[in-house]
């Protein structure tokens, strides 16, 4: 038996688990803070990409490859993207065969819609809850393996630390049961991390509050590098709601929604005017930047709107129902009658745990997939490519883990040194002298980040962010313990700050504009110096940033 430990039960985690159980003699332990039904993946609305070519548009996997590489401004590993786009049509068919309720066209083919950055209809969808429908079918698949005893789901558990053997290979991890605070070491042949994006560092994000980025920050602090951390996708159409943002899916524009603002009292369709060909369906980074420019540079303009009032009732009710419902429930706006006021908000982290083409991290036996990993999307992600990347990354990471497996003598030590270290750390925590409340600190951290890592950045604001962050760590975070917040949040808060620092330092080092990273002081793209992957590594004292060559496309 090979035993895989998977941390995170969103789309990537479920996909890895199913992939393992399709082969004989594998078992899976699936760990997550909440059940899969609650993972961020259920929030995805718009759809998943694959060149099924059923619309008579002559679409092809090559074109999907080119669109993905171009949108990512050639920072993604082309071999990984080649494989992703090649497998995409089959992945969508597999999802349908698991029971995903994709919309069907008149010929009973899986229906496809337009999505930003792509000229062909290539995005399969299930009305406006594609993520939820895909997740439901995968959860049902996992249930079968659970009944057979091949998958054990540990919900209400959080990841603390990987366990390594003498030769520095990962052989398990320590987790905490949040229902009784028990610390548990778990051993296996490999560990796959699929814990989602770093949304929790920010508040202007559409992501789930469950995705704190804590796992990424703990791995980073323990020496595992982060790649392309500066590339943060802002979705152009979000609304501020509660302490985060609510997404108005790109599907709204895919179905014909138009962006405008008022100029001299008249409706100004700024995207259509500047980009006549793609208009409202330009890639997200382009639209977000246009909106940022309009709002920041023209004093007479305070608001940008998304107009759905001209769309046919049938489309609104059938394909955009969730959007209409959200606007009515949360904002008292009826999009059938009035335009929706929108602002850009953080939506996706292209950067994350550095992995190779096959999803290996630098630690033997440790893999990463899904939004937590830096893979497939380069400088900017195409809408519909991250669900695809999560499913495919799950499959590849699982296959690699099974292939690499070095038959760890399944250690079952009850007290590995990592567990003792954590226990000691908890004892020390409680002796600390500062008593700042973590929720207040968390807000302050998000503030610093949001001011420096905005849609448009420059040396001055970034350096200020870095300074503020250093100060913040020295005067408030070091030696702090908040007894009113959980042990888990206390142990990890400084790690989150260090990860935040890595994002800012990466943005400082990349002195060019590319994709989601726009520098007003370096507006040009500089292929010679920066058509490379940014690597941020923590050495225990400071963060080193360097740039690595991107692999060439194999013939």
């Amino acid at each position: 038996m090979t035993k895989l430990i998977i941390i995170g039960a969103g789309l990537a985690g479920l996909s890895a688990a199913i992939s393992a159980c399709k082969e004989k003699n594998n078992e899976v332990i699936l760990i997550s803070t909440m059940p899969s039904e609650r993972a961020q993946s259920v929030m995805a609305e718009g759809g998943i990409n694959g060149a099924l070519n059923t619309k008579g548009e002559n679409d092809s996997v090559e074109e999907h490859f080119n669109d993905t590489m171009n949108a990512g401004l050639h920072l993604a590993n082309p071999n990984a993207v080649k494989s992703l786009t090649y497998h995409a049509p089959q992945i969508i068919k597999d999802l349908a065969s698991y029971g995903t309720m994709f919309n069907r066209d008149d010929n009973e083919n899986i229906d496809l819609r337009n999505f930003g950055g792509q000229k062909k209809k290539r995005t399969a969808f299930a009305k406006s809850s594609s993520g939820k429908q895909i997740m439901t079918s995968l959860i049902q698949k996992v249930r079968k393996y659970e009944i057979q005893g091949l998958i054990k789901r540990y919900t209400s558990h959080k990841f603390l630390k990987i366990i390594k053997n003498e030769s520095d290979a990962c052989i398990g991890c320590v987790v905490i049961n949040t229902q009784n605070q028990e610390l548990i070491p778990i051993f296996g042949d490999s560990v796959i991390i699929s814990t989602g994006g770093m949304h929790g560092l920010f508040t202007n994000t559409t992501g789930s509050l469950d995705n704190t980025g804590i796992v990424t920050s703990e791995l980073f602090t323990s020496g595992i590098p982060i790649a392309n951390g500066e590339f943060i996708q802002f979705h152009p159409t979000t609304m501020k709601f509660s302490k985060k943002h609510l997404l108005i899916s790109e599907a709204a524009r895919g179905e014909g929604g138009r962006l405008f603002s008022y100029k001299n009292g008249k409706k100004w369709y700024f995207m259509e005017e500047k980009y006549p060909e793609m208009g409202n369906l330009m890639p997200r980074d382009v639209i977000s930047r246009e909106i940022w420019n309009i709002l920041n540079e023209d004093d007479s303009i305070d608001n940008v709107y998304l107009d759905l009032t001209e769309l046919p009732e049938e489309i609104l009710e059938n394909n955009l129902f969730e959007i209409i419902d959200d606007c009515e429930t949360f904002f008292n706006i009826n999009p059938k009658k009035e335009p929706i006021p929108i602002i850009p908000g953080i939506h996706y982290f292209m950067g994350g745990i550095k992995v190779d083409e096959y999803h290996r991290t630098e630690i033997k036996g440790l893999y990463a997939a899904g939004e937590c990993a830096c893979q497939y999307h380069g400088a900017n992600r195409l809408g519909g490519n991250s669900l695809l990347g999560a499913v495919f990354g799950g499959i590849v990471s699982c296959k690699t883990a099974l292939k690499d497996r070095n038959n760890n003598q399944n250690s079952s030590e009850t007290n590995p040194k990592e567990l003792l270290e954590i226990k000691e750390q908890i004892n020390q925590l409680k002796k600390r002298s500062r008593k700042n409340p973590i929720p207040t600190l968390k807000n302050e951290l998000s503030n610093i980040l949001e001011n420096s890592l905005d849609i448009v950045r420059n040396e001055e604001t970034l350096e200020k962010g870095l300074n503020d962050l250093n100060n913040f760590i020295d005067t408030k975070v070091e030696d702090n313990y908040d007894s009113t917040s959980g042990i888990y949040e206390n142990i990890n808060f400084k790690n989150q700050c260090l990860l935040a620092k890595a994002l800012i330092e990466s943005a400082i080092a990349r002195k060019e504009s590319r994709g989601a990273h726009t520098r007003s002081d370096f507006p040009e793209t500089n292929d010679k110096d920066y058509k490379k992957t940014t690597i941020a590594r923590y050495n225990g004292k400071s963060i080193d940033i360097h740039f690595e060559e991107i692999p060439k496309l194999r013939e």
């Binding site: 939820k132 302490k243 929720p439 207040t440």
Partner: protein, 240 residues
Amino acid sequence: MVLINIKIKRKTLDNENSYFQIFKYEGDINSSIAFVLEDINSREKLIDTEGNFAERIEWDCGCLQKKCGACAMIINGNPSLACSSLLKDLIKDDNNLITIEPLSKFPTVSDLKTNKYSIFKSLQDMKLYLESEPKINKNQHESEYQSSRCLMCGCCLEICPNFDISNTFNGTLSMVNGFKLINQENEKNHKNEMIQEYRKHYYNGCGKSLSCEEICPINLPIEQLLSKSNAIGVWGRNLK
């Protein structure tokens, strides 16, 4: 702007006993209960209306937009999602008191957090998965889509007069989830197995009060799914 008193049922991780604590909140009347809870939790110091120091409130949330079902709790007596329950719909009388409690049919972990393991276990007991590729039936597409929207929040179980975690009756969400699978399964034996479990764990226990239909936070067409499930599971029909 409104000023409200929010009365919260509390329990610590290591103590069996619950108690109530009241907090003041002043803010926008369009705020959700989730927003109010977050706001209270992010205060420098948490002090209740009697001036006592309080621990931060434990509760689960994820999406904050009615998509993940994590934040189900009892609000003014009704099982609801905290993220889509807005103050303007909850303030009824002049004293502006809103009471929130954890769902009562599941073990409370702490404060508003409950352990819903039994929900997921019950779907396993009913063998709810597909053995074959799904049967595609255009006419049932919409109902199957609705079946797959279920958030597993547990509100329908909380309101149900017949549901109790210790009984064999698994409640509405098991029927809602089961419908699609029973209708789509092509493999006869497994289909029959699911039908038998459906009768045992759902049909024999449901008293058709349909209080669940009104309470479902995402308005699933429960009665419709129920009559379709019964048509297949009890009357042995195939849906056209």
